[in-house]
Subunit: 356 residues, 3 copies
């Protein structure tokens, strides 16, 4: 197989130094098309040296350019071109943001695509090929809709929001500003609601609500968020959901709450703000999880949790108790042996006492 | 961000009353475009009051129209327009169904779309833009295929079935009448079958079977159902699968069985009818789960389960035993202390006895 | 509902016998369009009899053709046409491979599709309708890209690789030869990286790395693999990932490692080669899992694992210890009763001793 990564963008040392208000030391014309960690640096990449602990790597790195502190004095020869700046870490971070913005410069309507006559589209929008925008839907300014995205009817999408390829947005969904929705995510699918019939079959309960994503929300790849039975399933401002997460109907996820992949939250559960959930956590329906709650990976939550608590395990327990319980759990075989030994000893004591 | 939900459909109080054979009390011309719970009612929505416990909300609700019992006598002033009917809950449910049907009135072939010359399409079909229908496949009457759906070759789809945007149906799949498949679901992907080679690598075992979904099946968003190695993976009539579920090759899911999100069922396992599985349940391969079995969320099942049992936990245990075990599990640290205290006491008894 | 599977390909007994260098016994003109197990055989299918244990089925099977050993002597009348070959199992396997190849004979560029002017496409490529190939991307020879697949910019795809409908490949991904990527899989979505701000909100950390899939990798339906923050998330040669798996940023999965569905691996974890993971396993971030490690379904791994170990359970323990612990766990209620009984007995002993 071919391994070389195509050069999408190339930057020269002089241009980078100019952007960072830094000074070049070495080959001014060397160019890079990617970034790397200094310890993994390869030709054609730019790395940085901020922590003195990593200094030894600068003498070995294959990176073509390294950002260093203004007063850095190498003890050995350095092959890479150096760019001297005030704060190499911050300079590196600002380059990453620049790179990210450059990646996102796409605009225009690619063809073929489908935009309903009654839909409205803001300024500087990118609308990829094979994307679909349904009746009465609207896109804000600077929105980027990647190819093959589906946006149903009556959907409202705010400014600067990015929806990656093939995400599916059902009718009536409302999405705020500055959101990012990754490929394959499904927003607004029917809640899982069925009424049992006398013959054992189920009758579908119409799910006529919608999903609201407030501003600054990020939704991971192939994550699914069901619409509410009535009213709205709501993901509040700044919440970040990783890949392959299930949020059931009528749920609410609070501001700035983050969840790792494969979490499942059952219907009508309300999660507070600033919570952190590990991967594969499961939460039963109709519960309340308070603000600032932390839930360890794979925990199974079947009761509401008060604000500020940290829980672990399935069934979930308070952090300290859970750790103590694990310690004993891991010793269960020995504990059983101790118990059996003790039973024997008590038997012996009893017979000894009866003999007397 | 904008919050207003676009008005897709609007209905006047007089029209609703006529449809429900009810009588209007208040503004006949007020109109609604959505429904709400009476306790959350907003202007422009319709709510209902069936349970007398909720009566106090009718005096506060912002809902524009409320369905009430014929003989309802308000104790205070009511702002909303009332529609008096025999059974407010049933009337509300029939309105929801009407709304749902209206949502689904789409028909016609949107362009561009791809229908192979050898494929056949029934009457009153909706076939969305960028959808694909492969060779020798057929769609029944009133089928709705949303945009960007993929239907491979030799696929048969019955009458009235709805497939939402971007679902992917592999070659040879058979889908019954009145099924609903949500966005991003994948039906008929290769089973996970590999023969280990002497050098540690794996050789793919061709998966030449298919998937059969019988009538009235609902499949959730981003759920995956693998085709059989030979023969068919079968989802029986009326089964309902939530989002992000994995059904492996050669499995069978019985009639009217329901599964919550993120369940995983390994290859060749047969699940009976009228079962209920909570979220994130895992079932090992080559097992048999009898009819009417209930499995609690996150349970891990590694043995077959007889009809009618309810199991919990990982490893899964019978419901009553599991609950008793949890009680002790949660007390493990105290239990260990009790054991250590007892050991000490027995030691003391022994030395006391020896002293005598 | 209709049940009949469409006849996509039909083969006559004479043609099959010729291909297998076998001899026909019975109706030479009978034709089949599918395969079956001898015990489930239906008219129009071909089965095989290799294991003498299954001989009784050959007298009942509805299969139209059965492959049998050259020297097979039926004890009763056989309805099916027989084809006598040296090794019925091998002959059957070679037929399956032929069938699989025939299924994959598609080639050509379907319209409408989107291929950027700067992209390059190898020989004998199939590129389905509504598929998208971005700037500077390249496809090797004999590649098959199914409809509605998204391939971003700067993506490199080797020879003979198959990408099924609607998979999404982000910018900069590198995919080797002979890979198979199933429908709905997302390769290269942003890693889940956010820096906490003083006000409780999160700032996105740009994820500028990519994903590399080496040769012979298979990725299941709706599985997600995030790109690296910098550098590459790598899936090594011959690894096989089932459906709905999450591989986070900066991970590495070793050669010929296989994982069942719904596994989640957190960021920066390195998994060795020839490992086997059961379904729904969770592995925390920044760990190392050695070569030849086996992890049982639903295990929760929070510590690194040395090469060759087998672990089970959450929290994960060595196989033997876990099994012993389960035995005691299942007896916890009795154990508690034994402990309480023992406490009582010791109390009695103590008072007896004090009485004396």
């Amino acid at each position: 197989m071919q391994r070389a990564k195509k050069k999408i963008m190339e930057f020269k040392a002089t241009n980078i130094a100019e952007f960072l208000h830094g000074t070049v030391e070495g080959d001014e014309n060397v160019s890079v098309n990617n970034v790397s960690k200094i310890e993994d640096g390869k030709t054609g990449t730019l790395a940085f040296l901020a922590n003195p602990k990593y200094e030894r790597y600068i003498y070995e790195t294959e990176a073509s350019i390294v950002l260093v502190r203004k007063d850095f004095e190498p003890e050995h020869e350095v092959k890479a071109t150096l760019i001297r700046v005030d704060d190499p870490y911050e300079a590196f971070a600002s380059l990453l943001e620049l790179y990210e913005q450059a990646r996102q410069m796409k605009s225009g309507i690619e063809q073929p695509s489908f935009i309903d006559d009654s839909a409205t589209v803001g300024e500087s929008v990118y609308f990829g090929a094979f994307a679909y925008l349904g009746a009465n839907s609207s896109l804000g300014n600077n929105v980027k809709i990647y190819p093959q995205t589906y946006i149903g009817s009556g959907v409202i999408i705010g400014n600067n929001t990015i929806i990656y390829a093939g995400a599916k947005i059902y009718d009536g969904t409302v999405i705020g500003d500055n959101c990012i929705i990754h490929a394959g995510a499904v927003i607004g699918s029917d809640g899982f609601g069925f009424a049992p019939m006398a013959d054992g079959s189920y009758k579908k309960i119409p799910q006529v609500g919608n999903v609201i994503l407030e501003d600054d929300v990020e939704i991971g790849a192939n994550t699914t968020i069901d619409c509410s039975t009535m009213g709205s399933t709501v993901i509040r401002k700044g919440a970040k959901l990783d890949n392959l997460i299930q949020i059931a109907h009528n749920c609410e996820v609070g501001e700035n709450t983050v969840m790792a992949a494969l979490v499942g939250i059952a219907g009508s559960t309300k999660v507070g703000k600033n919570c952190m959930f590990g991967g594969q956590v499961g939460i039963a329906g109709h519960l309340t999880v308070g603000d600032n709650v932390k839930i360890g990976a794979m925990a199974g939550v079947s009761n509401s949790i008060k604000a500020g608590r940290t829980v672990l395990g399935a069934p979930a327990m308070d952090h300290d108790k859970a750790l103590k319980t694990y310690v004993v759990y891991r010793r269960l075989p020995q504990m059983r042996e101790q118990l059996l030994a003790l039973q024997k000893e008590v038997e012996e004591l009893k017979s000894k006492l009866n003999e007397e």
